[in-house]
Amino acid sequence: MILTFIEIRDGKIKKSSLETLSEAARKARELHIPLQAVVVGSAPEGTGAELGAAGAAKVHILESPELSSYSSQGFVRALESLVRETSPAAVFFPATAMGRDLAPRLAARLGVSLASDITAVAVRDGRLVFTRPVFAGKARLTLALTASPAIATLRPNVFPLESAAGSAAEVVKKAVDIPAGAVRGRVVEILGEKGAAIDVSEAEIVVSGGRAMKGPEGFTVLGELAALLPRAAVGASRTAVDSGWIGHSHQVGQTGKTVSPNIYFAFGISGAIQHLAGMSSSKVIVAVNKDPEAPMFKVADYGIVADLFQVVPALIAELKLHYS
């Protein structure tokens, strides 16, 4: 059986969890083994139908008053009890902030290692083989895990969704016992939630600016452009972040976030090695730069040699006119 961890945020199942479940469904079919999902805490209405459509036959909902907000120590105990009971061959997590916080904790508790931020899963000689970028994408590592279960976190925006893989999943609620004093750290508040804000690591389109943005005002204009595009977020180069023009949570590159959106717009980003490492796995790359020699043009699918301050307003005008 493959078990998939489903993350709930704002009372909804996260898209990255459905992507992870969809990939688990494809591998479970290939291995002829069942697929199940697990929600820790409480699940929204319709969870069985939504997860069933992505391929899950059964959904475990693990409940305890201790699990009402996220805590790595509480969640890991709940998951451990389910893993010991159901003995899955693999446990998949989305490689989100929560998945990457929790999966290694579960792996260590079970005495196994894990494969992080996976961009491809294959079955070879009956076992799962994982491919992941290392050095932020400058190299690619393919590995197998020698102990069971195989625990992996799967990168958002990489794996396609299955939407008609099966009928509604069976939903099983279980009370889990978390001993008093076992949880000594937990989330007490979520700050700066902006509802619609999409993180660069999860965005389908990233609109990024570099040194040529010249200041914070330029990023306001990029924000306007992002607002006109579906599931888009604003990104930035290290220079732009270090100059204080935009917050570091927007930084793309080896010392920022590694992203794989459908479209990556690089406005005035020359293309330092450490930046290219963080975005070169994007499906389509667009470079706009005054300097025709900018290294970014070498990885771009489409290039415009022009001043970004003329191109960005033209894109905004065109999108408003024909695409909204």
Partner: protein
């Protein structure tokens, strides 16, 4: 307050990576090595905590003899003590192995540490898993990818970066915290610090001395292939005025790339 900071020596982020496909590893020859950038935020935070609350900052690296250079940089920044856990094995990409060794170090040599600080991930292996694993092995609470840390007695509050928001985590010490960019601005070493760091001993501990059970420091990750990403084909340059180019770009994204 005693803080242990775990550091790693990694290839410079500005360097080009070459692969030895037969050895399934990165070619180290000719590479420049640095402190993993996030580890600098961890060292800085430890120094600030000591300045505010007293105590001691110990920096620890797992790696070959050359990793002592990484530790000396932290000593030059102001760390009190450094320890090298000697490990001549090449990168295994196995976070469990590293976490078991580091947790064994804490149990054997630093059981009085109030806080274990890490960078949020070491650049290169990019696992971001060792801090959580060490926390689990020691049964400590954890706060990863932290941009703000406040400690009051045995209680702490951290802001942790998640998608599009921050989680405020409340936890008790001892604990594991991993540092994200934005936590602080790391100081530069002073000349005086560099001179003093040169004179400080960097004791070397072997993995065998840490009392790990036989086999637990063996990797659980089997590296099958290591390769460079496929080279990209040259793209199209779109001519015309900015308005024409913008219009044509959107058309191509929609009809040719089918990405819009």
């Amino acid at each position: 307050m005693n803080v242990v900071v775990f550091m790693k020596r990694v290839p410079d982020t500005e360097s080009r990576i070459r692969i030895d496909r037969e050895m399934k590893s990165v070619v180290e020859e000719g590479l420049n090595f640095i402190i993993s950038p996030y580890d600098e935020y961890a060292v800085e935070e430890a120094l600030r905590l000591r300045e505010a609350k007293g105590g001691k900052v110990t920096v620890v690296a797992l790696g070959p003899d050359e990793a002592a250079t990484t530790l000396r940089k932290a000593l030059a920044m102001g760390a009190d003590e450094a320890v090298l856990i000697k490990d001549d094995r090449k990168e295994t990409y196995d976070p469990l192995r590293v976490a078991r060794v580091l947790a064994a170090f804490v149990k054997a040599k630093a059981a009085d540490a109030d806080l274990l600080l890490f960078g949020r991930m070491s650049v290169g292996s990019d696992n971001a898993s060792v801090p959580s694993m060490v926390a689990e092995i020691l049964d400590y609470p954890q706060a990863n990818v932290v941009t703000k840390l406040e400690i009051d007695g045995r209680e702490a509050v951290a802001h942790r970066e998640i998608e599009g928001a921050l989680e405020k985590i409340s936890f008790s010490l001892p604990a594991v915290v991993s540092a994200q960019k934005g936590l602080n601005e790391p100081r530069y070493e002073t000349l005086k610090g560099i001179m003093a760091a040169k004179k400080k001993p960097v004791p070397v501990v072997t993995i065998a001395e840490l009392g790990l059970e036989a086999g637990t420091a063996e990797p659980h990750v089997e590296v099958l292939e290591m390769e460079l990403p496929a080279a990209k084909q040259a793209g199209k340059t779109i001519p015309g005025t900015p308005e024409e180019a913008a219009r044509e770009l959107l058309r191509l994204l929609r009809t040719e790339a089918k990405a819009l």
